[in-house]
Symmetry: C2
Subunit: 187 residues, 2 copies
């Protein structure tokens, strides 16, 4: 119950707090690296009480998992251009834009950190990968349905996504020509 | 000066402390993830005084850079089997063994974390990559000198190292067949 105004839009305040807290986490990871901040610092940055964070997420680790899952799954829909080469080039360009954008490296670091931080993190990492794999698989299935010879999702992970991820994680540049070249070489 | 025994092996105690501190850092990263521990905790784990760590390394970040540089550069010498395919297969198998070994994922996470943690970290990350690139380049140059057609170091990074790094960072398995397959496909 909110004692200042009637709860006309249930979830409105909650959604706003969620977005503020997520942004605070992404900012802090960008500034300090993964793990170098507390729930109290997230709360201060987001302008909410520590207790709001503990009540909703339970722990810093759960909050971090939630941020990674939300950010990496709420991405652009998979492209449907009519050809496999077109779909893969568009998809690779989308991923490149996301991981080099303002919060991209932070979210990528978070995904990597979660994948190696115990049970809850491993689950979050596996869930992330499963969701992305399903989306990618449906794109490759469409190509096969059209009679095109399509790679499998592991080929895309190893030869398109992994090089881009590693270059961003290591602070190297991604040019559009480089990203197109990864797709063309794989096909 | 050590007041218990004559300093017959200069650097002996210092080297031992260095190794203990490095191992303590690697253990703590493996248990807690990068960044989730203090200089005091490293000191307690290594059985040395906090002041020894500050005197020698200055800060936790410098210590972490030193660990990553030492661990990733003190690796097996580059193979020289007489053929490019043999060299690359042996090299890829060595890297796979290192990054899947007891401290491998921790050191890999540390390298990634350093690459994105400000100026000192970026320098350490760049230094790491430059050293590995020089070693790899000399192996590829030998192949060219023998008249073989060799890939460049970026091809090896993108299509052999990056897939292995990403799979280990995401907690996936590396089999010898998979690693050989990456080399064969690139060649």
């Amino acid at each position: 119950m909110n004692d200042r105004q009637p709860a006309r839009r249930p979830g409105g305040r909650s959604a706003r707090v969620g977005a503020q807290v997520h942004q605070a986490v992404t900012d802090l990871i960008g500034e300090r690296g993964y793990g170098n901040f507390t729930v109290g610092e997230v709360a201060a940055r987001a302008g909410v009480a520590d207790s709001s964070i503990y009540r909703r997420w339970g722990s810093l680790e759960s909050l971090l998992s939630d941020v990674a899952l939300t950010r990496l799954n709420a991405r652009s829909p998979m492209p449907d251009t009519g050809s496999l080469a077109g779909d893969l080039r568009t998809y690779a360009a989308q991923v490149a834009r996301e991981i080099t954008g303002p919060d991209g490296p932070a979210v990528l670091h978070l995904a990597v950190a979660l994948s190696s931080s115990g049970r809850r993190g491993l689950e979050a990492g596996a869930e992330l990968r499963a969701e992305r794999t399903r989306q990618l698989q449906s794109m490759l299935d469409r190509a096969r349905d059209r009679g095109e010879r399509a790679p499998d999702t592991f080929d895309v992970l190893d030869h398109v996504l992994a090089p881009m991820y590693i270059r961003v994680l290591f602070g190297m540049e991604l040019t559009p020509e480089y990203v197109d070249g990864l797709v063309d070489r794989m096909l």
